[in-house]
């Protein structure tokens, strides 16, 4: 139990790091704003230039909050999947959840031309985007779960995830073929991933879904720990396996689905963050892992976003490319260095 105290300190440090990363994230961009001015604006104090206040409150603050929500949500859903599927390589992207969500979004964006115009007016609102995307990821997750019950082999589960990814990609390209250029462009831009295009209303909706997903995850901590022993032990400890699995599926679908709807399919965060955190906190106890992964995901996403903005320049890169550029080498490095994932 001695370690527990050490871990608590690390979690507090991670939380502070989130705040610092967020301040830098808001401060850096095409226009660099000094940190003091950022904090002043956030606390409602006098700021040197009015344009700075405008940029911070209407553009950079919602973007930073989106980054925090996206990073933490994806990382937590990655952790849940890794425990649920008994597989260190599981994550929302790898298991095809993001692809499922993409399919939902593609139907919303491009379905109009295929299914008719009246369909489009019902579909084109922020809520429908989230719901379609969540349903898409839920669909894929259920299929993967069904497969995982039949096949106990963890490798097979990953391959099925990959198959679903290419299946949904095929359906999306069929939809794209029949869509006019403007709608196709809308979808393509969405698929690059972006944290910055969200209005306060959209951030609010995303935040609502995030809170639901995170609360269910926190409620599952005890059962996740019993799952570390394996299903038969968990059952002998009074864990309701079916209900528990269902809750975890709902939490991951809501998190991965809503995030993908607003920020696009973002790769590797869900897979890499739990492993990075395990490097710092060598524990399997979800009471420490869940908060640490929430903060770790937020930090990684804020940093990726800073890089994507290319501070001082006019350009910004697609966020999806940055997370892959950072995430893929991290996973390779972990694999090569440890030879085996310590779970």
């Amino acid at each position: 139990m001695l370690n527990q105290k050490k871990y608590t300190i690390i979690i507090i440090l991670l939380f502070l790091a989130v705040i610092i990363a967020a301040l830098f994230n808001i401060s850096l961009g095409s226009v660099n704003i000094p940190i003091e001015e950022v904090t002043a604006a956030l606390f409602g104090l006098e700021v040197e230039k009015d344009t700075w206040r405008y940029i911070i409150l209407n553009y950079r603050l919602p973007k930073a909050i989106t980054a925090i929500i996206t990073g933490s949500g994806l990382a937590v859903s990655g952790l849940l999947m890794q425990t649920l599927f008994r597989n260190p390589l599981a994550g929302p992207y790898v298991l095809g959840l993001s692809s499922g969500a993409s399919l939902g979004v593609a139907i919303v964006f491009m379905g109009a031309s295929v299914f008719g115009a009246s369909f489009a007016t019902i579909l084109l609102s922020e809520w429908s985007l989230v719901i379609a995307s969540s349903l898409g990821s839920l669909l894929v997750l259920f299929a993967v779960i069904l497969a995982s019950i039949r096949l106990r082999d963890t490798m097979a589960i990953l391959i099925i995830g990959l198959m679903f990814a290419s299946l949904t990609a095929a359906i999306v390209s069929v939809l794209a073929y029949f869509s006019p250029a403007s709608q196709l462009q809308q979808y393509v831009f969405w698929s690059y991933g972006s944290l910055g295009d969200l209005s306060w209303d959209e951030v609010f909706i995303l935040g609502l879904f995030w809170i639901v997903g995170i609360l269910i995850s926190i409620g599952s901590i005890k059962n996740l720990n019993s799952l570390l022993l394996g299903e038969q032990y968990a059952r002998s400890l009074g864990t309701n396996i079916r209900k528990n699995r269902f809750m975890i599926i709902i939490a991951t679908s809501v998190l991965a689905g809503s995030i993908t709807a607003f920020a696009g399919p973002i790769a590797f965060v869900g897979l890499a963050v739990p492993h990075l955190i395990r490097q710092i906190i060598p524990s399997a106890n979800h009471i420490t892992l869940v908060p640490a992964v929430i903060f770790g995901g937020a930090i990684l996403m804020l940093i990726c976003d800073i890089i994507a903005q290319l501070p001082g320049s006019e350009f910004s890169l697609p966020i999806n490319a940055i997370t892959s550029l950072i995430g893929a080498p991290v996973v390779i490095w972990l694999l090569v260095r440890k030879r085996k994932f310590n779970f």
Binding site: M1, L2, N3, T83, R86, I218, G219, I221, K222, N225, S226, L227, L228, L229, G230, Q232, Y233, R235, S236, L237, G238, T239, N240, R278, P282, S283, A284, N285, I287, N342, F343
Partner: protein
């Protein structure tokens, strides 16, 4: 006799075990009648495929019985709620753990899950029970190690400590001595004997170590093809129940030394 009867931990009546596959029943063993009292160490012995694991799974509620009744602490097993069952039976299985990245303390602490609150917070009482379990199996020196750093023998002791921490009246172990050398086999079984006497818990385990079991156990359940015999080692030996357990042209039971010998 009556006073003993009233606190029987585990009792089965005319129990049949097996698997149900698409309405087709595959019966593995029938007519199992056992009664285990507090503080008794009982071994389930049988050749491969005789139904040892099936029996343990049935008794712990993982699979359903084909026929007959099981009573745990006088309640019908089939009518016991899962959370109450978790406070009555604890398991030590051969199933691989998902994660061996837990420390010994953390693993033993998981035994307290049926008693902790919604997020699994350990109270002072829980910690006391955990430390007591660790002390009982004598693993204080390795309590801060990770499970993947342990030898098979040490790890088995940790799993037993976890079951003890669950504080149940019955502990069921599935082949607790596989993968262990002769010394550790004897050590683990001797430990189980000591624990059953010190904690007054009933301990039931499946094993192939019939020679050791005959020396250490209070009672044995012998599973033969479609026949189950239950009794003390003495009773079983005097009724010649052990003689035809294995094909007699190769292994024979020697009454004088109470052990099996190769012919």
């Amino acid at each position: 006799m009556n006073s003993e009867d009233s606190n029987i931990v585990l009792k089965t009546e005319d129990l049949s075990i097996g698997y149900k596959k698409k309405k087709k029943e595959q019966i593995v063993a029938t007519n199992i009648d056992i009664a285990i009292n507090p503080g008794e160490l009982v071994a389930v012995i049988g050749v491969n495929g005789a139904g040892k694991s099936t029996l343990l799974k049935t008794l712990s509620g993982i699979i359903q019985s084909i026929d007959g009744d099981i009573f745990i602490d006088k309640n019908k097993l089939s009518e016991t709620e899962p959370d109450k069952l978790a406070k009555t039976i604890s398991l030590v299985l051969t199933e691989q753990l998902l994660s061996k990245n837990l420390s010994v303390m953390e693993l033993v602490a998981l035994g307290r899950q049926p008693y902790t609150n919604w997020i699994g917070r350990l109270t002072k009482n829980d910690l006391k029970k955990i430390m007591h379990a660790i002390k009982l199996v004598n693993i204080e020196d390795i309590k801060n190690k990770k499970c993947h750093e342990l030898s098979d023998g040490q790890f088995q002791k940790v799993l037993i400590a976890r079951a003890l921490a669950q504080d149940t009246s019955l502990i069921i172990l599935d082949e607790p001595t596989t993968h262990l050398d002769l010394y550790h086999k004897a050590y683990v079984l001797k430990l189980l004997q000591k624990l059953s006497k010190e904690t007054n818990k009933a301990i039931l385990f499946a094993s192939h170590e019939i020679n050791l079991a005959l020396q250490l156990c209070d009672k044995l359940l012998i599973l033969k093809e479609k026949k189950a015999l239950f009794g003390t080692p003495k009773e079983l030996i005097s009724s010649n129940a052990l003689n035809d357990l294995f094909p007699e042209h190769l292994i024979q039971f020697d009454k004088e030394s109470s052990s099996f010998k190769i012919k």
